[in-house]
Symmetry: C2
Subunit: 635 residues, 2 copies
Amino acid sequence: MHHTSHKVEIIFIVLAIFALWNAASNFFSVKRVLIGRPMRTSELNAQKNKLIWFIALPILSADLYSSVAYGPEAGMTELAGLGPSAKWLIVPITFSTIFLLIILILSYIMGILAYPNGGGSYAIAKDNFKEKWVALLASSSLLVDYILTVSVSVSAAVEAVSSAYPVVAPFETILAILCIVILLVINLRGVAESAKIFAWPTIGFMTCMLVLVFTGLLNESHLGFVQKNTPPFGSIPKGLSNLLLLKAFSSACSALTGIETISNSVPVFRDPKPKSAIKTYIALGIITSITLIGFGYHLYVQGISPNVHNTMLSQLAAIYFGHGIFYQIIIWFTFLVLVLAANSTFTGFSQLAAIVAEDGFLPRALTHRGDRLGYSNGIIVLASTASILIITFHAHTNALIPLYAIGVFLSFTIAQIGLVKRWKREKGPHWKTKLMINAVGALVTSAVAFIFGVTKFTSGAWIVLLIIPILIFLSLKVYRHYEEVTNELKIDIHTIHPEESQVISLVLVSGVHHLVNTTLSFAKGISDHPIAIYVGFDDQSIERMEAEWKEWGSPCRLVTIKSRYRSVLQPLTRFLRLIEEKKPDQAQVQVIIPQFISKKWWHNLLHNHMALFLRVWLMRNKNIIITMVPYHLKQ
Amino acid sequence: MHHTSHKVEIIFIVLAIFALWNAASNFFSVKRVLIGRPMRTSELNAQKNKLIWFIALPILSADLYSSVAYGPEAGMTELAGLGPSAKWLIVPITFSTIFLLIILILSYIMGILAYPNGGGSYAIAKDNFKEKWVALLASSSLLVDYILTVSVSVSAAVEAVSSAYPVVAPFETILAILCIVILLVINLRGVAESAKIFAWPTIGFMTCMLVLVFTGLLNESHLGFVQKNTPPFGSIPKGLSNLLLLKAFSSACSALTGIETISNSVPVFRDPKPKSAIKTYIALGIITSITLIGFGYHLYVQGISPNVHNTMLSQLAAIYFGHGIFYQIIIWFTFLVLVLAANSTFTGFSQLAAIVAEDGFLPRALTHRGDRLGYSNGIIVLASTASILIITFHAHTNALIPLYAIGVFLSFTIAQIGLVKRWKREKGPHWKTKLMINAVGALVTSAVAFIFGVTKFTSGAWIVLLIIPILIFLSLKVYRHYEEVTNELKIDIHTIHPEESQVISLVLVSGVHHLVNTTLSFAKGISDHPIAIYVGFDDQSIERMEAEWKEWGSPCRLVTIKSRYRSVLQPLTRFLRLIEEKKPDQAQVQVIIPQFISKKWWHNLLHNHMALFLRVWLMRNKNIIITMVPYHLKQ
């Protein structure tokens, strides 16, 4: 009991430290060490920071290819209740998944041909639908989906390791947060460098999977395609309904999430971008198909059933290789590839958020590139929200795996319909074939999205279907706010010019000392008749101040105010209201506040923060100009 | 497991909300409702807010009298290992406790006679010792002790209830925090009003205890003074050592903590203050002695042993009254009186902290009286630190009970020695008797403090003995800082006068719009030659800005700076360094920053906080005057 609480406290502390660090770290060298030297904007388009297609392949495909590890299993889990006679269904389900994969890849290649400068579902929807909400539906679905991907992938990765090594089980949440922090730092360093770090593990996992498939083939060529555990083929199991089959199919389709990453990331490729992207798509399609067919068929031949404590991948690997070194390698590459799936999402999320923010639908801060040219704010937003999800669910987010496919397939559908509209409008070479491909794509993806929404509604899909409209609504409100502010600030450049204002300058004084002297020197420099204001809590202090002022030779007019309630703010605001009522219409009121700046942080505790407090309150509640005169304490 | 984490999270959230509320709530009506209308400083000395002695008695004695509930038990627990033949020792131990009580009360009455305007150990030490650290030793011991008292009393109160009703056991921490929040609100309302709320429960507990003692006497007059469970008297148990006896005695002395409250609180009494305070001391001494003798003797007659799950008080009450309604009443009054012990500490802590802060040894903020004339900051500091202790120890702080007596007895000793020095110096009527009383007091309390420190050193006393010197050290550093700042700020009023400064005014502009227009109007009002500064991230934006500026008729000189690293701060500071190098020695540099003020809090997310960020950085790192021109967005 105590242990868990401490764990949560540690997480809170770590997050708090990190938040503070991020908020104010621009000037600490730790940031330089972790993030690297700042980069010039002109380095953005340098070819050397762009990706060659066969390095982009492993980086951008981690999200899709890692799903191979759980997609077929998710499908078979739905049919587990029907007994061994349903096991053969993995073969047709895998084939229909691959069929869907091919349709999707073809559709996305059409997308790249139509938008060679890159553009995911959002850009396509924006270009082809007049209604703003359609594009926002695409972007909101994807953004929600990206957040879910990070939490789910990282949690799954940590769980994979903790199933192999139960000793780390109590630290799952902390480890998952640690993974996210590492991903955060790496992504703040920038995309090109991540490439070099991240290409190899995915290549490793791909190799593992291909070795596994090849080993299976060898095994079957020696022992035959029907082995002692191979279930019967083609029998219709009792209790099989169309709904159940659809559920199994849609769950298996979760293996296809992440396919949009390449098309969203066209700008990160080396020239010629569209051709590189298409090459990557084709290569990825071939590798994924081979893996899926081989993996699915070997699962059938060995008659493997889904098991909560032992993944089907782990079971198959154990049959071929035992629990030796190669089994360990597969487990660790599964871990790495799931973490990389989360990583590819960082680029995707921050770029999409920046594009949508550029259009005024999200806070503009998301368009700012950080020191290392990544969209730092988007990267930080993703890391934080994913961390909150992980903490809330204590890193047990597997239940969410099937859910996040809804968002993806919704955005797939919008993109396909948008492309159909485009081909119809723009025509061009082979437009009818292209239109046909995208029409089929739209049909299939909308069917899958619909099946997902219906079959998973009660088990959590409703959350996603609730959050997406809320996000669309908020995006539209953000857009309206920016539009209104722009209109409010607009001036006619030819008729309105800055006229010299009459400025009434008030100086808050707390006695006669060095800081007041400096502040009055400044006030006299900018105003002919500054007025000093002193707020006292009793008659004695006011009399003392007036006497001292006189002795000082009355450097300017002094107004003393007695505060019977020991508050500076209330008498001051009453006085300011009086001045505002009497001043000419065009005159501006300026309050000059002297402020100590302590040398050591703990000295801040020793000084009155009236200056700070007054500034915040006056800025928020009054139309008054605030000037702070700093005095840096030597002690 | 999940449950606990949520509990901790809830506490964090509650604390965070509370902290925010406190920081910024001056202007929300919720504070008015909870705390009440603000009071004038002149209401401070009104007699109607002062306490009559017999109302002060229950309020100021809750701390001491509540210890009766656990003092004898704490002593007997030390001897539990010796078996039934040690049970009779409760009688001599109780008598020696009462002997100590009488000596302490006499010494404190001497203290009031010497310092009729009130003054606890700190005031006495300050007046009689030249060395600052002696007074600080007294104040630090007491302040640490007050914090421990609040956490221990509140935790014990909650545990009392949760032993009677196990259903609340999982919520102990939250309930303890809730108690502290309630005490906090009540104390922020002010001391006189707390009086009316808090007098009755203590009176109730006293009545309960006296009824219990009287019932015991009746019981013994019927059934005899030797009953079936009465252990033998006077036998020396095997294994009894002097060290063990000292340990038992010192633990029993924890019943005497809180005795200093009355002498520290003389100013809250109605006139004549010293006489009222002395009356209260005598009455309290009589009631406490009767209770302790009766309670201790009945425990012996009934042969009750200490039991972790059932207090000796609860056992004795159950023998006389069964588990019926009167037993329930005793349990609940025990709860209330322990909470009240915490309450009397709030007044004590905040007043002592204010006195020490007035002398410059603690942050001055502790001397500020809040709206309701209580020392709000001290009250808030006490509530927060006690809450942190409770959260850290999950409301299981009983182990700390014997520890906090060290601080008290240390400060007792210092006060007694101080008084001895004073009688020797000042003489006056009966000075030799008074000196004798305080000399005996000093001897006894120093012996108890020494016994505590030695016998409890390994079980936690070392923490207290470590923290107190640290506090003394910090207090001396605080004092030095205030002294140095005062010297640094001091000016010769006859030779130094504010001379009109030459001011260089720079205006940050981000384009040509309404806010820039207002800001430039102001700048022209205070400066003949303001300079506008524009920081652009690329050549296009700079060219566009320059063209627009020209079209606007160049209202003042415009300097454009290109930032290759997308940062405004770095090129700006480079530019400022240039200006600082070239400016005349006496000239001051002013940066004028226009700032949006959003209407709704969430709109803050949509705007760039460059203005805020720049202000914080420049204030902290440069000797530059910052002016903020607010623009309140209508949307």
